[in-house]
């Protein structure tokens, strides 16, 4: 829990995280609906994996309001989400809960905050690299890279399945490369420049519309 020195004033670290998160909320279409949350818990009740989370989806929003983004980012919750969109489909306030969890994940990655020995991050990284290199997701390579990074022993357990898939023509040894991968690299490079401009993006709406402005000490 972030420590609060003066009532109503957020510590510097919390303000920094909050700023990063609100920038992410800005690029989620409809993200500002976060402010409408009535804490009904439909998200948590609809979530098939909330039992395995340390903070339920409803609690994530409550903690955000209470000024504890760091606590959220350190939780398993954002990494346990399986992207099934049940919460989003059922939220009576039309809050894009799944997309907000993605926004939190992006902040966690940007700020390098993650739970110890939690492997989802490693898989994301391996996936991104595969797409950048080949233009397609080389599934066999992705799994091998993931296990090497996250759990080398786990690979042994996967070996029989890999062998079975190979025999049935469902596993390739070599990645499929697209012809236009240099074009794709150019597109990604340009998009990255657009996404992270030199100066911080002016926050169009989130700080005011979400209604929980970070007060600088």
């Amino acid at each position: 829990m972030a420590e609060m020195e003066t009532p109503g004033v957020l510590p510097a670290r919390e303000s920094e995280l909050r700023k990063a998160f609100l920038e992410q909320v800005d690029i989620v279409p409809g993200g500002e609906r976060l402010r409408r949350c009535i804490q009904c818990g439909t998200c948590t009740g609809s979530c098939p994996v909330s039992y395995a989370m340390d903070l339920s989806p409803r609690e994530v929003i409550a903690r955000f309001r209470a000024g504890d983004l760091e606590g959220i980012l350190r939780s398993r919750t954002i990494w346990v989400c399986a992207s099934c969109y049940s919460c989003t489909a059922r939220c009576p306030q039309e809050i894009k809960v799944t997309d907000l969890l993605y926004a939190l994940k992006r902040v966690a990655m940007e700020k390098r905050i993650r739970p110890r020995r939690f492997p989802v991050y490693a898989l994301s990284q391996a996936f991104v690299r595969s797409v950048k290199l080949f233009g397609r997701n080389f599934e066999a390579g992705l799994i091998v890279e993931f296990f090497l990074r996250a759990n080398p022993l786990g690979m042994l357990k996967m070996a029989p399945l890999g062998w079975k898939m190979m025999r049935r023509g469902r596993m390739g040894f070599f990645p499929e490369r697209i012809r236009g991968r240099r074009d794709l690299a150019k597109i990604i490079k340009r998009a990255e420049e657009i996404e992270r401009p030199q100066e911080a993006v002016p926050r169009r709406k989130a700080t005011t519309e979400v209604g929980y402005e970070a007060i600088q000490p």
């Binding site: 399986a82 049940s86 990655m109 492997p119 898989l123 499929e176 597109i187 340009r190």
Partner: protein
């Protein structure tokens, strides 16, 4: 009718039977399915979760390549379908995002004006061709086969494109018209765990156990799905799940195009039914011999 085909990465390898059966069913129904030249990864939910603008641009390259062809894009993988659908809608609705993405695309001399329609093959087959017309073309009856139709998450959520979010019925109606019996399967849109099978295996295994147990308890002979990842999760770990939970959790997991293909008279090999990781029972395989 002609369509642009976007197979997606999984269908090129791990879900090759889905690719084979999709192509075969379209051919059997006289539909043209033309693979998009040099398509790239859709971005999938994983990429979406890392850098949003970049993932929209990656996804949009495919839409930009497809636009001049003036055909609907057919994407069988649930994740590809959702990502392409979402990108398409956001680019149409948010001019600032479209401007940024087109700026990125221009680095490769491309541009996307927002005129492509992204479709799932289930939608195309049942709504363009029509269930009645399909039933008329069927040469085999599925009578006696009990099916659990499993839609999973991403073809119904969150975009609500062609069926109900909570109780989709497209597949149920299709297979009922082909004489199959639909079992009670209230978990038809419950999550299979998706990528969690690789990262937080215990959580995903429990979800898969619940799905298999529910289908089996209600008497299903097979479960039918629309997604490469759902099929993999439900099919590949049946031995381990059976050992772990002490209940028999073996069940044939078919892609809907495979079962439809059987009804249309196609054979086991053409539909990739010989490439499954889980045992395909005689009850399913014998369909390949039962002439209507």
């Amino acid at each position: 009718m002609d369509y642009t085909y976007y197979p997606g990465c999984s269908l090129t390898r791990t879900a090759s039977p889905y690719d084979l059966s999709t192509r075969a069913v379209f051919r059997a129904l006289g539909l043209g399915l033309h693979e998009l030249e040099d398509w790239n990864c859709c971005g999938a939910t994983m990429y979406m979760s890392v850098q949003e603008t970049v993932s929209f641009a990656i996804s949009a390259r495919n839409l930009a390549l497809a636009e001049p062809l003036e055909r609907d894009v057919v994407a069988p993988c649930s994740a590809c379908y959702l990502v392409l659908l979402k990108t398409n809608r956001f680019l149409r609705e948010i001019p600032e995002l479209a401007a940024k993405v087109n700026d990125a695309l221009s680095a490769a001399g491309l541009n996307y004006a927002g005129n492509v329609r992204v479709r799932h093959p289930l939608d195309v087959l049942c709504n363009d061709v029509g269930i009645k017309a399909i039933a008329q073309r069927a040469t085999r009856s599925l009578a006696g086969l009990k099916i659990a139709e499993y839609y999973g998450c991403q073809i119904v959520r969150p975009e609500r494109a062609f069926d109900d979010v909570e109780v989709p019925m497209t597949m149920d109606t299709l297979f009922a018209a082909l004489d199959a019996e639909n079992v009670y399967f209230p978990m038809k849109t419950r999550c299979c765990g998706g990528m969690l099978m690789t990262t937080v295996g215990d959580v995903a295994k429990k979800l898969c156990r619940d799905l298999l147990e529910c289908a089996k308890a209600n008497g299903a002979d097979c479960l039918v799905t629309t997604c490469p990842l759902c099929q993999m999760n439900l099919a590949a770990y049946q031995d381990a799940l059976t050992r772990q939970y002490g209940v028999d959790l073996h069940l044939p997991i078919l892609w809907f195009t495979q079962l439809l293909g059987l009804a249309l008279g196609l054979d086991v090999k053409t539909l990739g039914l010989d490439r499954h990781l889980e045992p395909i029972t005689d009850k399913v395989l014998s369909l390949a011999g039962a002439v209507r």
